[in-house]
Assembly symmetry: C3
Homo-oligomer: 138 residues x 3
């Protein structure tokens, strides 16, 4: 497993992490002399108020609209009991999911044409970590 | 990795893809002379307005109700900025998730008794693709 | 693949299953003489009205708030057609997701500092099962 860090800058944010994830995968495969491997790459967020998704990374309005609608339906304040004021962030993290598994062909993360790999910050700004693992096809 | 195509027929739809996914897995395992393998099968949707889920595939009203409630809470028009008119589709894709990983025993995808493997169209009708990978137990 | 059972006690509930999942993983790795393996562990829920998530397991109010907000936005009764009265449970299962994949290092499930592995009951109380598989890093 390899890790990388990132710094988010607002409370709700989606950041492209594909090149960081590919670098981590390159380094895993280089260490195992396995550069052309097939399988899948697990992109794991070890936090409880952030998540990973795969979605469009072309028009920034898509990310804006997704975050805006999530915030509208799951507002920061809403009769929550948890004293830290971030229950909305925890729920959004569980709805989007703490990890994504993406295909790997010949050592390369393989996404659909319009897809990006997005770190989803729901309680920033914060320093965050992402864990990357490779799983083998056989 | 193997791919198969499907054609959706309405804007929001859930379609059973278990037999297509099993056929793709059969073909992967046959090529690797590995027909009785154990592990997991990654069912990956390379699109940004569709998703994969596992849920009941017996009473069609379950699929109808899930789609109806999603559409009610995340309507097509809702103050979005993205000009293509499908921001709801992108958000639903990220909430349901672009892939599912399901167990494989002796070369067979293993679901719970009432579970089906469902392709979720959120911006159809369209021609779509699904990518299938096998990951080995060890 | 190994299985374990659990009993839920209310309609909506989140229960920590990390130690059960680790025991199942221990038993898988012991059988394959592979105790220090690296890879990932698939925690799979074979039901259609329950799910698995990774989130905070420290302040019980986080679980309470997530369940409360989900119930508020996706109420039990809401113009559904499915006659069993649990369409909300099916949708919540698909939104949270029927499985999670978590990293394994040296045979140990590796979560973030504040993360717990949570079984999410959305139509209890019921007797439930969880399926655990190990996927190898290479």
């Amino acid at each position: 497993m390899k890790r990388f860090s990132l710094q988010t800058s607002t409370r709700n944010q989606m950041l492209d992490i594909l090149s960081d994830a590919q670098k981590a995968l390159d380094s895993i495969l280089a260490e195992s002399n396995n550069q052309n491997s097939n399988g899948a790459c697990l992109i794991y967020c070890p936090h409880t108020t952030a998540a990973i998704t795969v979605n469009e990374n072309y028009d920034p309005d898509v990310k804006r609209d997704m975050l805006h609608k999530l915030q509208q339906d799951i507002p920061k304040d809403d009769n929550y009991h948890h004293a830290e004021g971030n229950s909305d962030s925890h729920l959004k993290a569980s709805l989007i999911g703490t990890s994504k598994l993406v295909p790997v062909e010949n050592g390369q993360i393989k996404l659909g044409h319009w897809q990006g790999l997005l770190f989803c910050e729901f309680d920033g700004p914060r320093q965050r970590e992402v864990w990357v693992s490779f799983l083998s096809a056989g």
